[in-house]
Structure formats: C-alpha cells, structure tokens
C-alpha cells in the first residue's frame, strides 16, 4: 500500500524556508491553487502578491535575485513560460539569476482546458540556456527538491505536483540532479518516464512482467541537463527498443532528449515516443485525457504489444489489480472525476 501525502509542497516550503530569510514567495494571483497560503500566513513579510501580470512578475523576480534574494514564483506552469517567455529569458535566464519557477498543472493535469495545459513547457524551456528543468514524479521528489535547488545557482523550473501526491520512492532517497531512479529492471525493453507517467507506467510494467515481459524502467526528474550515465546505459541495453512516456508533447521533451542521446551516441533503439502527438487538447478530466491521448497504463501495454507483436490480453481489471493503490478507491471519483469541480 503506497502512502499518499497531502500537499507535500505546502508544508515543505514553509519548513524549508524557516531559516532561509532570503527566500521569498511571489504569487501570480493563484495562492490557494499553488499551495502557498500557508507560506503567506507564516511569513507574510516574505510573501508578495504580484496580481495577474506575469511579465512584470518575472522581471521583478530578476531584480530581487540580483540583490541576493531567492524568489520562488508560484503560478500555473503556462503562466510562467508562455505569457512571460521574453522576461524569463532576458530578465532571468540570460543573467543566470537564482530564481525558482514553481509551475503547477503539468501537461493535461488540469481542469482548465487548453489555456491551462502546459503541454509544451519542457520543449520550450529546454531551448533556454542556463535554465535547469526538474519535473516532480512523486511525494519524495516534491519533498526533497527544495534541498536540491541549493546546489544550482542558476534559474530552475520545477514542474510541480499538488494536492494528494503518491509516494513512489522511499522518503529518504532524495531527488538528485541529473540522476534517474530505477523503478524496475529487465532486458526486453527499456522504458523512461517522467512526472505522472511514472505512476501510470508502474501497473503496466508489473502486469507485463507476469506475462513474461521484463522492462527496465527509469524515472527521470531532470530534463535539463540531460546527460545521466544511467539513462545512457539503459538506452544502450534496450533490447527490443526504448519507450519514452511523458505528460507532454512528444516533441521537445523527454522523448526528444532521449532521441538526441541515442542519435549522438548511436546507442539502442528504435525509439517509441509516447506523449501528446503534436496537438492541443480539450478540457476534461485527467484520466479521460490520458486515455484519449494514449498516455495511460493501458496505452503503454498496447505499445509494448505492438513492439513485441504479441497480445497479452490484459484488461483494465488486470491493471487495476497491479495498481499501486494510490488513491483509496472510494476517493478516486472525488479526486479525479470531472463531476467533482475543483477551483483551478
């Protein structure tokens, strides 16, 4: 039974910032939706409301960072890289300032529709020099990422998770820069996942293992830099191929990063990229969209079947039986069903 951690970022940020007086939080008028209300209540003098004016927020943060403060910007991911890209590049990334961008609602994981879906953030941001890109996949990632930021003087983008977050990895095995985690070993295929797709993939690989398919599965949390020897090695010994799976377009993100490594090192392959296939999406519940865009557990099973030319006759029930019981079943609808509204 896997632990479910309630709002790991919220409390962690407050505890971590306690003895770090230079840490400031800037809010883009989404305080309640980005888990910084507690920070605001605890350190009101270090919390700054920037309203709905993201260009100004980004450049302003650059000014604060030039003076030695460490601003943590909290808003939805789309409002950190789309609205203020020029400011992010020229006021923050070019000068290589210690600014932390905490972006919520990764990929299709939002009730908000196309304007709120950060489906190309990694692609856009991997093309920006000086920026480090981290993506959270579980509660341990979230709880330990703030410590990791201290190793990185330049700007960092954190693709953040909120609400109840499953713990997939031991609480004491902290996230490390440019270091993937081994989720499962095997030599038939290699699988590299990031963010939510890691938990999506776990029941699929488990069910496939029962059918005799041994998959080496890595969870990647650093999208830039992307030079982890473990990833390279995993790709190199990839058996029948390498699958990448991400809550993002197939272009520009994890899949492209792996492709670059494969092509330059001439290792492994062929590559099968799972993700959103170069399209915008509608607004709907996360599970619905994951299924529609082919990045849920069953889609992974189908992909493996196609690659291997087999049919394992796995059903949704088989997958559910394997599923790390992240959510108490009774709560599944409550949490993810589109019937239950959440404020954004």
């Amino acid at each position: 039974m896997i632990e479910l951690v309630h709002k790991p970022h919220e409390g962690n940020l407050v505890a971590w910032a306690r003895n770090r007086p230079d840490v400031l939080v800037l809010s883009g008028d989404l305080t309640g939706s980005t888990e910084i209300q507690l920070f605001k209540d605890t350190y009101p003098e270090r919390f700054f409301s920037m309203g709905m004016a993201e260009q100004n927020m980004l450049s302003w943060a650059g000014g604060l960072a030039r003076e030695g403060f460490v601003p943590f910007l909290h808003t939805f991911a789309v409002f950190l890289y789309r609205r203020p890209l020029d400011q992010l590049e020229m006021s923050v990334c070019y000068p290589n300032l210690t600014v932390r961008l905490v972006g919520f609602l990764p990929g299709l994981n939002t009730p908000g529709g196309v304007t709120h879906q950060a489906i190309n953030d990694i692609g856009v941001l991997r093309a920006i020099p000086n920026l480090t890109i981290l993506e959270m996949g579980d509660a341990t990632d979230v709880e330990t990422v703030l410590d990791l930021t201290e190793e990185i003087p330049g700007p960092i983008y954190v693709r953040m998770l909120r609400g109840d977050v499953a713990r997939l990895f031991p609480a004491n095995e902290r996230i490390r820069l440019n270091s993937a985690r081994v989720v499962r070993d095997g030599d038939d295929l290699s699988l590299v996942t990031s963010g939510h797709c890691t938990s999506e993939a776990m029941p699929a690989t488990a069910a496939l293992a029962r059918r005799g398919v041994a998959i080496r599965h890595l969870h990647v949390s650093t999208l830039k830099p992307f030079s982890d020897p473990l990833v390279e090695e995993t790709i190199a010994v990839s058996g029948r191929g390498v699958i990448t799976m991400e809550n993002h377009l197939v272009t520009g993100g994890l899949g492209s990063a792996v492709a670059e490594m494969m092509a330059e090192k001439r290792i492994g392959g062929p590559l099968f990229r799972m993700g959103i296939r170069d399209t915008y999406a509608q607004g709907a519940s996360f599970p619905y969209l994951l299924r529609k865009h082919g990045i849920d557990a069953m889609a992974l099973v189908n992909k493996v079947e196609t690659i291997l030319g087999e049919n394992f006759r796995l059903t949704e029930d088989d997958l559910r039986a394997e599923a790390v019981p992240v959510y108490p079943p009774s709560q599944v609808d409550e949490r993810q069903g589109s019937e239950r509204l959440e404020a954004l």
């Binding site: 809010s27 309203g51 529709g113 304007t115 709907a284 019937e339």
Partner: protein, 322 residues
C-alpha cells in the same frame, strides 16, 4: 444605430403573460442565470457562482437588448467535442453559432474571462439559445461546455482562458469589419482582474490609436480576483482615468441595473474611441449568505448541509419568481 434593440431575440422561454418590456425580461434572465448556476453549484458541489451573481445583469442586458444578435444557429443540445481546430473539418470559433449569424446586420459578443463560462451557458439557456438540459453536460468529459470555456464552447468565439487576450482580438475583428465596410459592433465582456494584464492596455492603446469606436467593452468590476480584493492583490483603480488616458471613454454604472447598463451603452458619445462600461457589481448579489466570504469568493463551494439547505431555498425562490 438601432436604438430599438434587437429584433431577433428569442424570448420564447419567458412565460406569456409576464411583462415583456425588455428590462423586465432582462431582470428575469438575470434571475434565471443566477438560479441555474446556483443549481449547478449545488449539484456539482462547487462552481464559479459568484461570477454569475456579479455578471447576471450585464450578460442579460447584452443578450436581451444591447447586442444585436440573431437567433442561435447552434443545436439546442450541443454535440460532443469534435476536435481542436486544425483537425479534420474543425474550424475556429464554432461556439459563436449560439450567438447567431455574423454579418453587417449583427453585433458580436466576445467573452474574455473564460471562467465565466457557466454564467454564459446559463445566459444561453435563459435566452432560449440552448436547451436547459444542455447544462447537464457542464464540465463533463467530452462535452463542449467546458468549465473554462474555449472557442468551441457555446457562446464563446475565442479561446481566452489565458486572460487579457480577447480585447486585442476584438480589435482585429473590428478593424476587419471596418475594412469590409461592415457596421456591426464588437462587444467584449471582461473581468476586472484582466485589467492588470499589460496586454489589455496595449489593446486599448491600439483601439484608441486607430479610433475604433465599434468596440464596446463591459467590465464586471466585482472588485475581486482569485486571491481576494483587487485593492489588496494588485490595485487597478482609478480604472476610469486609466481608460481615459489610454484613449477610451469610460462610464461607471451600477452593474446590477439593467437600464443603467443599457443607457450607458446606448447614450454615451464615444466617437472615435472605444467605449468601456465599468459595471461595478457585488459578487454576492442575491445571496447575502455569501457576503461574509467576500472578497474570497472566486470559487464557491457550500461548506455544510446548513449552507446547502439555505442555498437550495434561494434557488427555489428564484425558480418560483422566475
């Protein structure tokens, strides 16, 4: 300008025998908007209710009287979402069909703050442009009635969930109208939080520069945004002088007074300048039980059975007096 208002309105949803002066119609429509959104708030355990409470009269005035809109070309019950523009056969702006045909005889109505969608859907129902049962689709998987409306959503024409982009697009549409010699006006419904976005001012500046006076903006100045009161989160006052400085004509009105809104739109001289009606509103209007929660009313969920009962009583009362 057609000061007699909109001859194409479908008002058949109003019981016969009731007063059919347009202000009465509009007030009934406002009540129905509130009721339907309140019912959804109860049924779905949370909704963008306060936006309906603050904007009901603005939307009702636009739909009932001020905007010349033809009868809906959309189906009474919208079909499932069919794809994003660019996919086979899917064109941009399909939600506009519910606002009727486009052309020189008609105005356009563009919704900017996309989280007001539920209020817009309710306005479509209460103006007979959509069947009441369409609202059952609201925010369900595969429906076009998304919680944050986009251009396929009924009553929408633009994809404006990233705020502050509609006014510029309205400018392009208005400029196109004038290039083509079309006389229709372009109404833009905005929220006050959007006034914080720099793009809003770039747009107004450009409308003023090109002396485009076919754009009429109605702002729901409910004094609040996600985090609370705009005055606390990021002050936007004095809005009137900001707008005047950027080349617009601003009029402030009681945003719950349909005749005041209508008059401001119809009577304010604004030759060569875009007209901006600042509709000062109350985000708990009609539901005093919510007043204590102001200005934190961006998303409303009732907290306990007592609240839900109270709310249900309000809805029933509105239904009776509807």
């Amino acid at each position: 300008m057609d000061t007699e208002g909109n001859g194409h309105r479908a008002v058949t949803s109003f019981p016969p025998g009731r007063s059919n002066t347009w202000p009465d119609q509009a007030r009934r429509m406002a009540r129905e908007i509130r009721r339907r959104v309140l019912e959804l708030t109860l049924g779905r355990d949370g909704c963008y209710l306060s936006q309906a409470l603050s904007s009901a009269e603005i939307l009702a005035t636009l739909y009932t009287r001020s905007a010349r809109l033809g009868p809906s070309l959309g189906p009474a019950v919208p079909p499932a979402f069919s794809g994003v523009p660019g996919q086979a056969g899917v064109r941009h702006g399909q939600g506009a069909a519910f606002n009727g045909p486009q052309g020189s005889d008609y105005d356009r109505l563009l919704i900017s703050p996309a989280h007001y969608a539920v209020a817009v859907y309710a306005a479509l129902v209460s103006s007979g442009r959509m069947a009441p049962e369409a609202l059952d689709q609201f925010n369900t998987d595969g429906s076009q009635l998304e919680m944050i409306g986009a251009e396929h959503s009924p009553g929408f024409e633009l994809t404006t969930g990233s705020f502050g982009q509609a006014l510029s697009q309205a400018g392009g549409i208005a400029m196109a109208n004038s290039l083509r010699g079309s006389s229709g006006r372009v109404f833009v419904f905005m929220s006050d939080g959007e006034l914080e976005e720099g793009q809003t001012w770039e747009a107004l500046q450009c409308l003023g520069h090109y002396r485009i006076d076919s754009v009429v903006v109605c702002v729901d100045v409910n004094g609040m945004q996600y985090d609370g009161a705009t005055s606390e989160v990021m002050n936007i006052e004095p809005i009137e002088s900001r707008i005047t400085g950027f080349g617009g004509i601003a009029v402030s009105v009681d945003g719950h007074d349909v005749t005041a809104i209508e008059r401001a739109i119809r009577q304010t001289p604004h030759e060569g300048r875009p007209l901006v009606i600042l509709c000062y509103t109350d985000s708990a209007r009609g539901m005093p039980m919510l007043a204590a929660r102001k200005p934190k009313l961006h998303f409303v969920r009732f907290r306990n059975d007592r609240e839900r009962e109270q709310a249900r009583a309000v809805a029933e009362n509105w239904a009776r007096t509807g």
